[in-house]
Symmetry: C2
Subunit: 245 residues, 2 copies
């Protein structure tokens, strides 16, 4: 059984300011919840229509399908919704390959990029403060549980780049051909906003402008979607560690 206050609290977590104030966010679906249960994230409460989770009793509330529908952000809620605590502070390791996002706005894109970071073993994803919140339920959903394994840090990107000693790469339409460039196994790779790319202030910190060349007829001025570009760039950086040893 869910109380009115519980419903109100969970629904309030759809807003960023409430997530930040309460230090909580929601995860939906068995698979995603299990990924977070198997990570360093701390569970606050779990609401489920089936007793399928192997965790201590007082944190679990059995609810009806109708109740789940009330608290879910999904059209077709999937068995369970969990409330987890947002990590207090994540310490940036500042080593290996780091992806930096300058004002990425679409939750699906951020979620997909987190999933790609997980796949390609990128531990740190740094985001400008105006990048969409990674605890937004659409982002969490799109990560398919990968958010449990990638550290996402929001910071002043200009300051961060200014103080970093790493090689700084940026994805542009007019950079050096990524396939022919020498790429190190460490460094920061910046990807920009869906409509405007990397901002001028951040561009000025970039040491090497890289580009994914177009193979089509070049009739179009369109760029690749930022999540696809991230995947292809990560693939190129990681490939070098295998094929250029």
């Amino acid at each position: 059984m869910l109380s009115k206050n519980q419903i109100k609290l969970i629904k309030s977590l759809s807003q960023k300011k409430n997530r930040q104030q309460l230090g909580l966010f929601t995860v939906e679906g068995i698979k995603g919840i299990n990924e977070f249960l198997n990570s360093d994230f701390q569970l606050e409460n779990l609401y489920t229509t089936k007793r399928i989770f192997d965790i201590v009793n007082h944190q679990v509330t059995e609810i009806s399908e109708i109740e789940l529908k009330k608290i879910s952000t999904l059209k077709n809620p999937n068995t369970a919704l969990a409330v987890f605590k947002t990590p207090k502070s994540i310490s940036l390791k500042n080593e290996g390959l780091i992806i930096a996002l300058d004002d990425v706005r679409d939750p699906g894109n951020l979620g997909t990029i987190i999933r790609l970071c997980d796949w390609y073993g990128v531990k740190d994803l740094v985001c400008s403060t105006n990048t969409v919140d990674c605890y937004n339920s659409k982002v969490v959903q799109a990560t398919m549980g990968s958010l449990a394994r990638v550290n996402v840090t929001y910071l002043d990107l200009e300051d961060y780049l200014e103080s970093s000693k790493a090689n700084i790469f940026g994805a542009f339409m007019d950079g050096e051909n990524i396939y022919n460039s020498s790429l190190p196994s460490e460094g920061i790779v910046i990807l920009g906003n869906e409509a405007n790319g990397i901002s001028e202030a951040i561009s000025s910190k970039v040491e090497r402008r890289i580009t994914i060349p177009q193979f089509g007829k070049k009739q179009s001025t369109e760029s690749l979607n930022v999540a696809n570009a991230t995947g292809i760039i990560l693939s190129e950086f990681r490939r070098r560690t295998i094929t250029e040893m």
Copy 2:
């Protein structure tokens, strides 16, 4: 001014059976419409709130924002909606690199894959008959105009592969490492359904199983999203034509 019948016809195009029966589909937004106007696709009608298109008068209807809202499938309609004719039949060229989709269901994924084919100069995209319709408005929207430049053919994929003389590749979780494999500049690359991958019947036609290796901790059994996998695989095939000449 829009008549009731016009509104009814346009709205009916949200259903695949009506699109097929009438041989029509819709494109929204100035950029996308211009891409189709500059292609071989034939315009049926254009409805716009601003006189910004350089085309013959009788095909253009000026409408109000309120009318546009009535016929649009978007939350925030963008200036214009055009009705184009679906091409009667597209002849498969059967040359170069061909992407084949086995039962891809998500409109956003298909749209993104069409955009990637355009970027990487893939002229033919072949789809199993149960793959989502490329004239679905969400697909058209996600292609960002690229659909005007990529031939999408729906066919019996098993028969097609059976009769093809090309090298047949398939993306699997357990194939050869794509980064170390020799990849030709021509061939067919199959990608499968979001949840189930490539079906058994289609798998049996695959000559070379390829995989994008995971660089993370391998804690997860999750695969990459099919559109991301397509982008990375296309990148690898095309890279070879540059760096292995």
